[in-house]
């Protein structure tokens, strides 16, 4: 089981309680699609993804970004058993969506970059450490049911 310090718990709760999902969700997914263009392979039916401007203005990308970000809520509320919390979602991503689990890591890196931008100097090294530890557990849990 993952051990969380009080600082780590407080940091994660604080970041997500202050997060503007309508802003961060679209920003994260669109950044991922621009910085790692091969991730566009999963969004063939999203319409125009031809360039960065199109991606950032695409309403389906924005909507899906919010969905994905809210997907983290359950982990935030169940930090002591993220593995079990994401068992079903892991199966879904493997069996139905067929998403290469390395993409979870890429999206997590983009989320770190976006949160850093929003928080500025408040995103200290210790805060970054806590945030990345949380995301690493999420990423690992989402990849766990692949076979």
């Amino acid at each position: 089981m993952v051990e969380w310090t009080d600082f780590e718990r407080a940091t994660i709760q604080s970041i997500f309680s202050k997060m503007d999902y309508d802003d961060v969700g679209p920003a994260v997914l669109s950044r991922c699609l621009v910085v790692y263009p091969w991730t566009q392979r999963y969004f063939g039916n999203f319409g125009n993804l031809y360039n960065a401007a199109a991606i950032q203005g695409n309403p389906m990308v924005a909507a899906h970004g919010k969905t994905v970000l809210h997907g983290l809520d359950r982990a935030v509320k169940n930090m002591d058993d993220i593995k079990a919390t994401y068992e079903e979602l892991s199966v879904l991503h493997s069996e139905k969506l067929h998403v290469d689990p390395d993409n979870f890591r890429l999206l997590a890196d983009c989320l770190t970059i976006v949160v850093a931008a929003r928080m500025g100097v408040d995103f200290t090294a210790d805060v970054q450490g806590a945030f990345q530890k949380f995301l690493a557990v999420v990423v690992s849990s989402l990849g766990r049911q692949y076979h």
Binding site: T112, I113, A116, V121, A125, Q128
Partner: protein, 144 residues
Amino acid sequence: KMSLSAKEKVIVKDFFAKVSSRSDEVGAEALARLIVVYPQTKSYFAHWKDLSPNGAPVRKHGITIMGGLYEAVSKIDDLAGGLLTLSELHAFVLRVDPVNFKILSHCIMVVLSMLFAEEFTPQIHVAVDKFLALVALALSEKYR
């Protein structure tokens, strides 16, 4: 082989010019972050008396690394050739495992995102990410 387009080279040069007034801060902060968030990287600095993230040795070395990056920007048209000396240094003396180039690049970009939030757009992010990956490749050219 991955390479930077003419447009991306301009993006990288312009962005690093913009950052230059705070480049020391970026370098120091990125290295501090590296050793805090990825403590295993401290293994390369075991010979330092002071390994505190905000201590003088870490700050100084972060500035040195950033200087190397600016040298790379100036040699952006031929990174392998231009970084030959640094490449030999990393291969034969420092022998830093190349996985660490990736994580340092990530830390640098996190700091850039923090200090230059508006400027570090996705388009600039992808060009800088590619540039840092190419620098890492040039630095590990002589490893084997």
